[in-house]
């Protein structure tokens, strides 16, 4: 039984979430130079976008940073989640768990500031990283992403008893073989989901990138942010439409893949 007002709130909430996005997409095809004013169907803003080299460069950089950060996050977050879920109690486990979850609950301005201070201090002490740019943004995003991956992997492993790994040992698998043939396939869906999440977080982040990037590390969100500061342009509409299309396609493909597996 769903009361009427509950149902009404659901539709109101969905409309609130989707209406601005839907309008944004619709008006991306408007020829008028004022965004959100209909000037007849036109693809001129997409063409303008294709000629905007600064944005394209930022987008390419963002994709590379996001890919690298997500991969690093899966490696380190996966290891963290596995250690937390499968290594039983050990000295320092509570501390490890707290640190692993910290980036999830820290305000991003704090995380951003703290990472910048670290990079500056490291550079002062060791000369590395020399200046700030794509690499430092990547490390910052990997730090945030690994926290998400660790949580996803840990809860996935915790939901399965250790009995599968024990059964493998019982059947003669060495601990390493048991990890490779049982634990890793068990973790695989959460690693894939974690990678995608970390990738999205990186593609969406302004604050961490603002702190940890220098002039050479302008990612797409940072570029978009400075464009939006000056107000909306139809070009942004077009860009947003393309990004939406990409997100929709990715999710669609993922959905198909998941359906196939079942």
């Amino acid at each position: 039984m769903i009361p009427v007002w509950v149902r009404a709130a659901l539709w109101a909430g969905l409309a609130f979430l989707w209406l601005p996005v839907a309008l944004l997409v619709a008006y991306a095809f408007s020829g008028d130079p004022v965004p959100f004013r209909w000037g007849g169907f036109s693809l001129r803003w997409f063409t303008a976008l294709a000629a905007n080299e600064r944005l394209l460069e930022a987008a390419w950089l963002s994709l590379r940073v996001a890919g690298g950060a997500a991969s690093l996050a899966v490696l380190l977050g996966g290891a963290t989640g596995w250690v937390l879920a499968r290594h039983g109690p050990f000295a320092g486990r509570a501390l490890l768990g707290t640190l692993a979850g910290a980036p999830l609950v820290l305000p991003e301005v704090v995380t951003g500031l703290s990472l910048l201070l670290l990079f500056v201090a490291l550079e002062g002490l060791t000369g590395w990283p020399a200046g700030r740019g794509a690499l430092t943004v990547l490390l910052a995003h990997a730090t945030l992403g690994s926290a998400y991956v660790a949580v996803i992997v840990q809860s996935r492993l915790a939901s399965r008893d250790r009995d599968l790994e024990e059964a493998a040992l019982d059947l003669g698998a060495t601990p390493a073989t048991s990890f490779a043939t049982i634990t890793l396939p068990l973790m695989a869906p959460s690693l894939a989901a974690g990678w995608l999440l970390a990738f999205t977080l990186s593609l969406d982040d302004v604050v961490l990138a603002s702190f940890t990037s220098g002039p050479s590390g302008t990612t797409l969100p940072v570029a978009l942010f400075s464009m939006l500061r000056l107000g909306m342009t139809p070009e942004v509409n077009a860009l947003a439409t393309l990004l939406l299309l990409a997100a929709g396609l990715t999710l669609g493909i993922m959905g198909l893949l998941l359906q196939r597996r079942d």
């Binding site: 909430g13 979430l17 601005p20 490890l96 704090v110 999205t200 509409n237 990004l243």
Partner: protein, 278 residues
């Protein structure tokens, strides 16, 4: 071998989570100067500097920024909850539409939040869709200022954080036993009363978690107030950016970060307790 495997995440977290936080604390107690980087640490001869943290308490500018951040975060969280609670429950009970509806709520999260803020800029600005519509209907003579107001900022924040609030409510509502409401009905409760006395009490921890899940990140929000809020909306995230990037006063920025953390530590611990209970 197992020890080495434990050390890898340990070292990573020590270097990129623990050490940076420690540094923030140190900077907050350092002295501003003209060097590069623009501070001198306590061990450089001048000792600890309590002035930065004291400044936050004594200067009404910073005090108000902290206070206003908490107010805006609480308002955002409350508005989110108002929508998210019925949404989460309705989706949990939507039967075979459940997956699709949940996807519809979460998908905007994947579309990038800058884009969604951009959409609101386009809707709310003077030549934007809403003002054009109102003028077209002959309801207004000139554009009414909608963008760069507290209202625009709140709308943007709710839009950005709503999916986060729906998730815990949805998760808790799916775990509810539908028989309990039937039992309440069998014992003579009207549907409304059954909801208030049976369903709602069981959802309280999830509602609290949803509130905190929005409140904690919203308190430090920088981008949305910057793009949608009035120029004089002095929230802690904005002030921190300003001190750090424009005034190059790293110690005060550090102190602001420390203050924000201290204010949020209670809600964070409460949130983690709720998470563990669920």
């Amino acid at each position: 071998m197992r020890l080495a495997l434990r050390l890898l995440p340990g070292l990573w977290l020590a270097l990129l989570v623990a050490a940076p936080l420690l540094l923030v604390g140190i900077i907050a107690l350092s002295w501003q100067d003209e060097s590069v980087p623009p501070y001198s640490p306590p061990w450089a001869g001048q000792g600890l500097n309590p002035a930065n943290l004291r400044l936050l308490l004594e200067d009404p500018y910073y005090r108000d920024a902290l206070l206003q951040s908490l107010t805006v975060a609480a308002g955002t969280a409350a508005l989110c909850l108002l929508l998210a609670a019925p949404m989460g429950i309705a989706i949990a009970r939507a039967g075979r539409w459940r997956g699709m509806l949940l996807g519809a709520v979460l998908l905007p999260f994947w579309t990038g939040f800058l884009i969604r803020i951009g959409a609101w800029i386009g809707l709310l600005r003077d030549e934007g869709w809403i003002n054009t519509l109102l003028a077209g209907l002959g309801l207004t003579d000139g554009p009414i200022p909608l963008l760069y107001t507290d209202g625009a900022m709140l709308i943007g924040m709710v839009h950005a954080y709503l999916p986060f609030a729906v998730l815990p409510v949805f998760a808790a509502a799916t775990r509810l036993d539908p028989m309990l409401e039937q039992a309440a009905a069998d014992l003579g409760a009207t549907p409304g009363r059954a909801f208030l006395t049976v369903t709602l009490p069981q959802l309280l921890p999830a509602l609290a978690a949803a509130f905190l899940l929005v409140f904690i990140p919203a308190a430090g929000e920088y981008v949305i107030p910057e793009l949608l809020g009035p120029p004089d909306a002095t929230l802690v995230g904005r002030v921190l950016f300003q001190e750090f990037f424009q005034n190059r006063d790293w110690p005060v920025a550090g102190a602001l970060a420390v203050a924000l953390l201290l204010l949020l530590i209670g809600p964070i611990i409460l949130f983690q307790r709720l998470g563990r209970a669920a």
